[in-house]
């Protein structure tokens, strides 16, 4: 490794696959996670995640059998933790699509080691988010008739398509479906790898069925690559549309604090910000559990820290803009709501948001923090918390003081609110850990493509020890 330190190109552009790995090393390393025994850390994480997931089902069961009054939502705060958590979880998912689609279109090769896990995160985050709109109906078995335009004998009516809540249904369900398709298409060649390595008939059958008879022929790759490019091209405007439409839920209303044109870009930036924070949290954990330092390198992590810094600044700028426009509008209700936001009864939530979202990412200006695993882990947790507070602040502060002081109130969550939110973490973590255990967490074929360019590029950085 001595020449690694000397070569000046290494400083500027460290290789994305390190440790002199060959193609079969890549296959072995990534497949071994799925094929070997689960490490102790995995079981510890599962022991935390599964009980929390059970708590979710218990809370939802209690909600369905009792009624949505078990949540803290009440006049004047009719939207409480349910929509806060919905927006938060959807936002988490956005980093997955950004990494898999937008960075793909921009030819950012560093996305390769992290895109698969980030896409999985997107899917599970969307699943967690979908729980809230589904269960806030109180009768989730009938929700399909309320959410989707299904012809039915019972009601003889249709949804109001001019409502942003309907747009939201279409945006989120399209987003979930397209993300699942994109993720599965990416998995097919790697499932074929696992099929070909299978030693037991059960594995061979399952991975064989899932890989659909993939052969890796040049013809297949040709159509596959175009399909992947098209999906990336479709997902890019899609992901921007999803959080824009989520923000329309607020922006098209007439409520001070919500009725602003800044919301779509502000929500999208916030979504990417929180999503990258979640990717960093999960990647540092996965790297630690499975020892993936050669594949998820410091360069990957540092780049993600830079994205958090950039999007955090956009979010901070949006907070400032909101205040400026509230003052500049000369509208007394707008001015009141913003002063109330920062200095009213929810001041603690507002300043937690500022501390976590605006101040915390500033540490990433320094390389020392961008390349320190404990620092980025802790800061990413802060950002996750901060982004949750952002949604809570927007929702609760705009609602809790209505135009008449007689209808002023204060939102307090119930134990079911808290249990459901903690429970979604359990579901999310359980699904993510199962994904790590049974599917290739890193895109094997894509890493090999990057490795090939690394080895064959004449002016690029040679793979160290790539000759063995």
């Amino acid at each position: 490794m001595a020449d690694l330190a000397i070569d000046p190109r290494m400083e500027l552009n460290p290789p994305l696959v390190q440790g002199g790995m060959t193609y079969s090393d890549v296959t072995d390393k990534i497949s071994s996670i799925v094929e070997g025994k689960a490490p102790k850390q995995w079981w510890i994480a599962m022991a935390v995640a599964v009980p929390l997931a059970l708590l979710l089902f218990a809370c939802l069961g209690y909600l369905v059998t009792t009624g949505i009054g078990v949540w803290g939502n009440n006049s004047p705060v009719g939207w409480g933790w349910d929509i806060t958590n919905f927006v938060w979880w959807i936002g988490i998912g956005h980093a997955g699509t950004l990494i898999s689609a937008i960075l793909f279109l921009f030819r950012q090769k560093w996305r390769t080691s992290i895109n698969r896990a980030a896409e999985a995160m997107t899917l599970f985050a969307v699943a967690c988010a979908a729980i809230y709109p589904l269960f806030h109906t109180g009768r989730p078995w009938r929700a399909a008739y309320w959410l989707f335009p299904l012809p039915n004998e019972l009601l003889h009516m249709w949804q109001n398509f001019r409502s942003p809540l309907m747009w939201d249904v279409f945006a989120v369900s399209t987003y979930g479906t397209v993300s699942a398709l994109f993720w599965y298409v990416g998995l097919i060649p790697d499932l074929a790898t696992l099929r070909d390595r299978s030693t037991t008939p059960i594995r061979k059958t399952i991975y064989g069925l899932l890989s659909l008879g993939w052969r890796g022929s040049a013809t297949q790759w040709r159509h596959y690559e175009l399909a992947y490019l098209l999906l990336a091209g479709l997902s890019t405007p899609l992901v921007l549309s999803v959080h824009s439409i989520v923000s329309f839920d607020f922006a098209t209303s007439l409520l001070p604090g919500w009725h602003t044109t800044i919301f779509p870009p502000y929500f999208v930036a916030g979504a990417v910000f929180s999503g990258f924070a979640m990717v960093v949290t999960l990647m540092t954990l996965a790297r630690w559990i499975y020892g993936l330092e050669n594949l998820i390198t410091m360069k990957h992590l540092e780049n993600m820290c830079k994205v958090m810094l950039a999007t955090g600044m956009i979010v901070g700028f949006a907070y400032g803009t909101e205040f400026f426009i509230a003052w500049y509008s000369a509208n007394q209700y707008e001015r009141f709501i913003f002063l109330n936001r920062a200095f009213g009864p929810y001041w603690w939530a507002y300043w937690s948001m500022i501390a976590c979202n605006v101040i915390a990412p500033q540490f990433f200006w320094f390389k020392k923090f961008r390349t320190s695993i404990p620092a980025m882990f802790i800061l990413s947790i802060f950002i996750n918390i901060g982004m949750w507070f952002e949604r809570f602040v927007i929702i609760a502060t705009s609602l809790h003081r209505d135009f008449l002081p007689s209808s002023w109130g204060y939102f307090s969550p119930t134990w079911v609110d808290i249990g459901t939110y903690l429970g979604t973490f359990g579901l999310f973590l359980t699904l993510f850990l199962l994904f790590l255990r049974f599917l290739p967490a890193i895109a094997i074929s894509e890493v090999k493509g990057v490795l090939h360019q690394q080895v064959s590029a004449p002016h690029g950085v040679p793979a160290h020890g790539g000759s063995h």
Binding site: F170, H223, F248
Partner: protein, 195 residues
């Protein structure tokens, strides 16, 4: 048993099992993408036209070397994108302005502007399905059986090997010649593969 009887009868047009054994082609096994590309170019120069390469990741230059045509997937997808767009207009107009007229805030029953989000989402949804299912169709997957898997080292193509198959349908195909040819190109293991 039946086979033995049928072959003894000597029915016209009936070939015994052994003669009926079809050949898929000859597959050779190469170390690197560069070796594979070189082999394809040599084979094209030698007059082979029907070949297929197998690799663990898409190797750029293989399509050009094989003389492959562009994938038509883009054209399939644009058709479905437009269908999604039109379907969304139809859905919102018919449900809101024809079948169930609901006046909200005195606004028109149908207008294009509030229809845009759902038009966009449905166009994307249908396009994504078209991209994936179209790719499945063009690649003939899912498939349960393919003769490629009769090659003893087929698993290399999903790990670190680069395979080249000369198709039995190639007009120039002669099994022995093809084996010798691939060996001469540097194949590590060449096999005649049954169909």
């Amino acid at each position: 048993m039946l086979e033995a009887v049928l072959s003894k009868l000597g029915l016209p047009g009936y070939e015994p099992e052994a003669a009926r054994q079809k050949v898929f082609g000859v597959i050779g096994d190469f170390d690197t993408p560069e070796d594979l590309l070189r082999a394809i170019r040599t084979a094209r120069a030698a007059g082979y036209t029907r070949m297929e390469a197998f690799s663990p990741f898409p190797v750029h230059g293989v399509d050009e070397a094989l003389g492959a045509r562009r994938s038509p997937l883009g054209r399939i997808v644009i058709v479905f994108a437009l269908l999604g767009l039109a379907g969304a207009v139809l859905l919102q107009w018919w449900t809101g302005a024809v079948d169930y007229k609901l006046i909200v805030a005195g606004k028109p029953l149908f207008a294009l502007e509030p229809s845009v989000p759902i038009m966009f989402e449905l166009a994307v949804l249908l396009s994504a399905f078209a991209a994936v299912l179209g790719m499945f169709h063009l690649n003939r997957i899912p498939t349960y059986y393919h003769p490629f898997f009769n090659y003893s080292r087929h698993a290399g193509a999903s790990n670190d090997r680069f395979l080249l198959a000369i198709d039995a349908q190639d007009p120039k195909f002669q099994a022995e010649d093809a084996v010798r040819f691939l060996d001469s190109c540097g194949s590590r293991h060449t096999e005649v593969v049954e169909a």
